[in-house]
Point group: C2
Chain length 104, copies 2
Amino acid sequence: MIENEIFRALADPTRRAIFEKLATGGMNASTLREGMEISQPAMSQHLSVLRGAGLVREERQGRFVNYQVDPEGLALIAQWLAIYRAYWPARMEALKVLLKDMDQ
Amino acid sequence: MIENEIFRALADPTRRAIFEKLATGGMNASTLREGMEISQPAMSQHLSVLRGAGLVREERQGRFVNYQVDPEGLALIAQWLAIYRAYWPARMEALKVLLKDMDQ
DNA sequence: AAATCACATAAGCGCATGCTTATCTGTCTC
DNA sequence: GAGACAGATAAGCATGCGCTTATGTGATTT
């Protein structure tokens, strides 16, 4: 069950930070590590978890590995969330705007 | 940081099951426990975590405590997710429908 | 007020998780 | 091919987490 791996992956703040940084644009593990106080093995392990959850894709480029956000994982969260749309407050302007954007 | 508590709360499959059951309608802890193989203290602890994450509200009713989904937590996930809308695949029909609904 | 019921809290335990250091694999450069 | 570099994997360790049993608290019933 991948849904479980997604939520578990995002439960760790360091992993969310990595994912969020990656969302600004694809980059390799070393670049990703810049500015973050995290060891190389730790980064590698986190990326592995994110990859297993379908939140991140990897692509070998010579001796670098380029990582980027994988839409699949995000889509699964969105679907999970959509089930509970009845509970979202009507005043959620940000989401409304989002939906308008998508509807075009 | 509550965002962290939300993701952590949802990372546990038992807790997601409780939340999902609660989404079908508010009920007290004992009713919630029916059909789920979970001890009374475990249920109480899970509900406490969900409450701390803003995913669930509680309301004393005599010697029962009625629990129900709290939209606040869901809204925060939705907002977090919305940041990454650029990555959502265009073919996400379910979400499109959802947005249309909300836009009315 | 005594017993019962719904639920919360406390304490302890086993296992998962995230980190560390050390080492391995694969690719590039010279 | 030897060294350097990017990254993965292994092993060990400390902490966190979810469970259990036991007990506490507040409300209801008789």
